[in-house]
Every structure is written in C-alpha cells, then in structure tokens.
Subunit: 347 residues, 2 copies
C-alpha cells in the first residue's frame, strides 16, 4: 500500500443494483439469479439474465468470490459516537456496499469497552462478513478483538495497532502541504500556523507539513510559528490576539488546523481592522460548509474527502470479504477548496 | 396519543443487557437462556438465570411477547441523508434497541425513490421486525409502501400521510412558546421573529406559537413582526439590517428560528453597536452547540431534545413489535437552555 498513491477509482460500469432495477427485482434476487443459487422461478431468473445482458453486466471474479460471504451484512462500530466527520464516511460507505447488496448494522459504543464487547458479540451472532471501526477522533485505539481473526476488519478515520487490519485515514501531512503551498504560491512570506491540540497525531503531521513546505520554499516560520490550542473559534480569536499584539513581525497569512479556528481568526482580524485576504490570507481545514461558507469572507479550506474515504473503505472491505488480504495504513489524498479568504477573485 | 403529554419515561431497571454483562455472555445468549429456546449448554443457561436473579431482572410481558419478533433487527431508512439532526436520534435509538438485543440496519435513500424501494426490498429480505423512516428535514413525505402492512412503521423527525404509522416529531409550537415566553418573562416588549422558510411546517407552527404567546401577554407584534428567510447566518444579519434600519420602533428582543440565524443576528447587532442582551435579547432554536456556544455572547436556545426523540422512538417501536398498535402524530416537548444572549447573569 503506497501512502502517496492517488485513491484508486474504479471505472463506472453497470452494477448488480442497476441489473436489479432494470429487472424490477431486489438486489438479493438479482444476485441469486446470476449466481444460480437460491430458489427462484425460472421466469425471474430469465428476466434478471436478460437485464444483465442488456446492461453489459458481467459479474467479475471478485463479485463471484464475494459469495463466500455468509450473510451479506457488515457491521460499523463507532468507538465514541457518530458525528460530522463520520456521517459522510458512513453514507458513502453504505451507498457503495448497497450496490453490492450488502447491508450495514450500525453500532455505537459511546466510549464504553463493555458496550463495545456486547456489540461485537451481537454482530458475530448475526454472522457479519466484515467489520468497520470508526471514531469521531482520529486517535489510536486498541485493536478490536475478533475471535479467531475470523473476518476482515477496517479502521476508517481511526487507527489501531492491529497487524491484520487495514486503517484508512486522510493524509494530514499532505493536506497541510496543500494549504501552506497555496499561501506560498500567492506570495505570502510570513505564514503562521494556528494548530489544534498536540495530542492528536493529525496535528503533529500537519505541523510537519507546514514546516517542510516553508523550508522547501526558502521561507522561515514566523516567531512562535505554531501555536497549539483547542478546536474552537475562541482559540482562533485568542491566537490572533497573541500573534498581532504589537510585535514587529506580523504574519501575512494564517494556516489553521480547522475551520472553526480559521473562522475565529478571521473574525478577530476584521475586528482589528485588518483585511482578509489583503492584509492576512487565511486557510482552514475540514471544508465544513457550515463554518467555511458563513465566515466573512468565506474560507479557503483543505478538504479531507470524507465521502471518498467512505467509498474506498467500501471497496476495500468488499475486496477483503472476497479473499484479498489488505493491511497497514492507507492515507487518502486531501484537496484544497479556494475561496475569498485567500483569493479576492473568488465569489 | 395526547399531543400535550410529557414524554413517558420508564423507570430504570435491570435490562437484558445488564444480565448478559453480569453473566459474561452476549445479549442473544442471555435472551435465549431466559426464554428457554435455542441450543445452549445447561451451564450457560444456569449462569444467565443466576445473573437475572441477582439483578432482579424479570422479563415482563412486553419483553416476552417481543419474541414474536422474527429477526431481532429493524431498519432505519433516511429519505435524504443522515445529518446533524438525525444522528442524535439514531444514536439514542440504537442505544435503546441494543438494550433489547435488537440490531439496526442503516439505509440512506438520498432523495431517490428507486433507491428507497431497493432498500426496502433488501430490508424485507432480511426479515426486519420494524422500520423507522427519518429525514434531515421535517417535511411531509409520501408514506412508505410496506407490502401487506406486515410490520410496524414509525416516522421520526419526519411525517407521512400514513394512517397506520406513528409519527414522532418535536413540538415546534410549544418550543416557540417556551422561547417567546422567556423573552416576555425578562420584560421585553417589542419582540420580533426572524423565521426560516415558510414551506416548512415547523416554521408556520413556530410563528403561531410566537403570535399566541405575545397575544396572551398583551403584547403586539412589532411591525413586519415575522421576516421569513433562509436557515443561515447571512439571513440573520440581513434581517437585523432590515429591522434596525432607522425606523421608529426597534425590537428589544429577537426570537430566531435556528441558531445560525440567531448567531448572524447577534453578530450584526454587535456591529451596529448594540449590546446583547442589554439592548436586544436573542433566543435561537436547535441548541446546536457549535453555533450556540461560539456565538458572542453564547445563545439562549430552544432544544428539540433529539436524543429523547430517539429513545421514545425505540420504546414505541418495541411496543409495536410486541403487538401494540400505535398511530397518529406524537409531538415531544422541547426545552429551553438559557445562556447570556438573554440573561447576563449566566456564564
């Protein structure tokens, strides 16, 4: 698994879902008809085969071997709770798995290991074919104890020291490089980093991305270049108060570890009489529409492509159910969405 | 079903989950042991019975008749997508159902009726015992077509013209009464309503709650008392610009249909040099922490108690699976969280 690799995209082609829709049957029925198993009327079977032919649908080897799956169900277990980071992931995952006729059980452990164990027992009792583990935060978590390593496990937006599992997370280092390089490209010279709490791996990776990008551009970090604080607007406002307190070398750009920080920073700059982006350009992280679009001006932001993360998790899980052995940590590319906080020509 | 009724709360007592934890077995095993079905070692059965005795667990009639359930699974189907309103509902629902050993399949129809139909077929194929239908928006939606009315259906945070289903929604009228009465109680005389789009039933109900509360207090609505716009901060700022444009009778309080509007309004008031709450008190709706706590000052807000909505949906679904016939529209109480935007003594 290559960390730098662009997320693989499969070509668009007819899925079992399309065949089912065309034949007017359920996905399960279409699947049975094409695989010659299950009890179906010959008429139904013929209708499905005709639809598959018309759409050019060919069940590939992976889809065939998917039939080693026992229940066509998987579980998604959240360590803490489902929140704004996990919704887009779970939605895209559900969409991708539904195309293959796989249903998702949703379980939430609310930070309680006993509850997690009970959920796992329940899911094993339902004979799920695979398990996704997620978390609101990207912290390292203990590996989940699947008895006998009997099924594939993927950690998504979450990591565990589990040598048999695959971990899918956003490329935080690369995301920071994108954001800071953009500030370099628009000619900024004194770029400060208003960061989140250092206990997050994401924060230390983004800081490294920031430092490496400045170094490559021949720029020096401004004094007290990285300020660590909370994931809040209040922290963004406080950090601006510190950075612009009358000292000589004021920043002309701020790279902020999330959109809440960036929004607080932007508000504080406006209240100091400084123009964003003319005096100070601002880049946030998350591309969370609620924050990024409501900020004045709207925020340029690094997008973690969470829906893509969900889709890839679905693809990888299907591959693993079909027999592929995937493991290690796979980091998916971020992208940059440019808005007025760094580019006055944007709407 | 009485619209005005306080949501029923069941007394805390040992659940099958507690028994399972105490006996060190899964919920399914505990359930089988107590109901004398399934193939279990006598030793396991004895251990569970001992745990049930120790905890004073008595499976009641409802729990017993729950065993008419076929699969111990239910589906939750979202019309549009899962978002910040539906996640607390789904989380609390999942928690409540897990206590009864019932697992949830999660499906998302993303506004596509064909996709919804496929999900429904798939869920029926999994022999779910009940179905919850939800939506990001509280609009009326077409009833879902369960063949033969073969299982209970609950619409939660969503409504349908389905004579056989139960709809659970927040009491928007009552929520508005709470918010506006609070402004009356702190002595405000000229209360304006900055509302959301009129196509939402919630908006028209809240407007009625606003008007009735003023009328009961002997107050007149201010000129152009309700302004309808979007669910955004921008709309909150624009509405304040209209209300405070130099006309004689300026409001001394604003009741806003969500926290984004209230936050935009608060920002605009500050920028006009007006103090919140001294010159103008502000009340929002949703009690969405991201908005309500980051606003300056933090917002007093009406809370729709979405987790309670999820818990009640779980209880009602269990009752319906056990044979109760519930239908109609049940509106659950909102509550008011008072912060500095209406009360300077709050922290």
């Amino acid at each position: 698994m290559n960390d730098e690799q662009t997320p693989e995209r499969y070509p668009e082609r007819a899925t079992i879902r399309d065949v089912a829709a065309q034949a007017g049957v359920s996905i399960g029925t279409a699947s049975k008809a094409l695989n010659g198993n299950g009890r179906l009327k010959q008429e139904t079977r013929d209708k499905v085969v005709a639809a598959a032919d018309a759409l050019g649908f060919r069940p590939n080897a992976m889809a065939q071997s998917l039939h080693r799956a026992k229940s066509m169900t998987v579980g998604i277990l959240s360590t803490d709770s489902f929140g704004r980071f996990t919704f887009p992931i779970v939605e895209a995952l559900e969409e991708r798995l539904a195309e293959h006729g796989i249903a998702i059980f949703m379980c939430n452990a609310t930070d309680d290991p006993a509850r997690e164990k009970q959920h796992l027992d329940q899911l094993l009792g339902k004979r799920i074919d695979g398990l996704l583990v997620t978390a609101r935060r990207m912290d390292m978590r203990p590996p989940i104890a699947v008895p006998g390593k009997s099924m594939p496990v993927i950690y998504v937006f979450s990591q565990a020291e589990d040598p048999d599992a695959l971990c899918l997370i956003p490329d935080d280092y690369g995301g920071a490089v994108l954001g800071v390089q953009h500030l370099v490209d628009i000619g900024r010279q004194r770029i400060a980093h208003i960061a989140g709490p250092t206990r997050f791996e994401a924060v230390t990776l983004r800081q490294q991305g920031y430092l490496d990008t400045l170094s490559k551009a021949g720029l020096k970090p401004v004094a007290s270049h990285t300020l660590n604080g909370q994931w809040s607007e209040l922290w963004g406002r406080d950090a601006v108060a510190t950075l612009f307190d009358g000292k000589a070398e004021k920043p002309d750009a701020l790279f902020c570890d999330n959109d809440q920080i960036a929004r607080g920073a932007t508000d504080a700059l406006r209240e100091l009489g400084l123009s964003v982006p003319n005096d100070v350009a601002v880049v946030g992280f998350d591309n969370w529409d609620v924050m990024a679009l409501a900020a004045r001006p709207p925020l340029t932001s690094v997008d973690m492509n969470l829906r893509e993360l969900g889709r890839v998790a679905g693809d990888r899980l299907i591959a693993m159910i079909a027999g592929e052995r995937l493991k290690g940590v796979e980091r998916l590319n971020c992208s940059l969405v440019v808005r007025q906080s760094s580019d006055p020509s944007q709407n």
